[in-house]
Symmetry: C2
Subunit: 235 residues, 2 copies
DNA sequence: AGTATTTCCTAATGGTATTTGGTTGTCCAT
DNA sequence: ATGGACAACCAAATACCATTAGGAAATACT
């Protein structure tokens, strides 16, 4: 009774590995064929097992979608958290918004399968379970606290309604990502015909909702400060 | 040989009616279950015929999707054209943009089945045929000419790039509709948590890209004119 | 009336998700 | 090491799906 150092079964480990393998293949398939193109049979085929054997690991296809939703949401959340280390150093509001939008767009274009599942509702009866939805809530909370920090730093007016700002910003980024994914999913973030609108959209949003840039001890604010290097400025 | 007055067969007429009936039922089904929930069997069941009989009217399910895409695109186009009769009378740029956005959102929320098919790409191998896509191009062209008219009227600066403006505006409206459809398709345009952002978004867009409102015969443009009741403006 | 065409059917094929029941192998305790 | 518990897998079967093939009935045209 001294087996000490193997408390967690090797079997449980192998099981988790198998589940991960199935999910990886599912993501691959979704990226190839879209969410609706996902088939348990094809996953099983690529794993070298028969379709019914997948039911050892997932009680239904919906459960697989649920796991995918969870993984996807966790993936975006992590990508955004990592991106924000660099973003926090950027000086202006417009630059930070642009960088955040680009980070999101980059992840979405790199993971179109996940993105469809997360942002559209392509599966008829599918509603993510609370556990699967948790990281999505985490992303919302993360974004909200980010906006809160921006407000604390004085980049948003102190009296602004953070939730309204966030709603509008989410709409903007959702529009960019949605259009890019639907119309030209193979373009890159840099050359994408919609993602390339991010700098000018962020600049617009910053001009509309940002706080005046730290009044530099003069009476009149300068006419032209250093804003983002955007192209399509009209005014 | 005097049958004169029946040039177009009654059979052709009945055929068209049957096709219309099938498409109507398909739209109904898409609205209920989403695009992926569409099944030829269910359409046939509701028509009172057997599934294979549908192949008399559509060579494949893709052809049915194609017809639906065509119908949907024609529907939005018509809705937007009709809406623009009233829109053209509105005084300010922001009001016109808001009204246009609301008209689009209204149609999309009323026709969620079509909307999914048109704006997302939920069907794995489906690419609309040129004929089916024609009215979608018509909508783009209609929007572009609308923006051109706005520019001629002086609501957009004369040197503005209409295509860039349109791209950004499309992104905005796509974001609103996409978020509303994905997260709360049952809310109305007026109470929708995303569609209700349209006025403020349109105002932001108008302030960013609109031409100054009819320079009142003074040398310097006034510092603070009567703009929309927004809170945080930076410049 | 006869003929061609349209419309609908039944039957069948191969795909899907899923359930059932059985077989093999792996692990653990005795 | 042997027996029992459990995991992983499979074959077979069900029910749905899109689709094809071939035939029967209705419809229109000559």
């Amino acid at each position: 009774m001294e087996k000490v150092a193997a408390p967690v079964d090797r079997r449980a480990r192998r099981r988790r590995e198998t589940i991960e393998e199935a999910l990886d293949l599912a993501v691959e398939l979704m990226a190839e064929q879209g969410v609706a193109g996902l088939s348990l049979g094809e996953i099983a085929r690529r794993m070298g097992i028969r379709p019914p054997s997948l039911y050892v690991y997932f009680p239904s296809k919906m459960a697989l979608y649920d796991a995918l939703f969870n993984r996807g949401a966790a993936g975006v959340l992590q990508a955004m958290q990592e991106a924000h280390h660099a973003i926090a150093d950027l000086p202006t509001l417009a630059e930070r918004l642009t960088a955040a939008g680009r980070a999101l767009a980059r992840w979405c274009l790199a993971n179109p399968g996940y993105s469809q599942l997360l942002f559209w509702r392509p599966v008829p009866g599918f509603q993510p379970s609370p556990e699967a939805y948790a990281p999505a809530l985490g992303l919302i909370e993360f974004s909200r606290s980010w906006f809160g920090r921006l407000q604390s730093e004085g980049l948003f007016p102190a009296d602004a309604d953070i939730d309204l700002l966030l709603r509008d910003w989410v709409i903007l980024t959702a529009g960019v990502v949605s259009q890019q994914l639907a119309n030209a999913p193979d373009e890159t973030v840099d050359t994408g015909r919609f993602t390339s609108a991010l700098p000018s959209l962020a600049a617009m949003f910053a001009r509309e909702h940002g706080a005046p840039p730290a009044p530099p001890r003069r009476r009149k604010s300068p006419v032209s400060t250093t804003v983002a290097p955007s192209s399509g400025r009209s005014r």
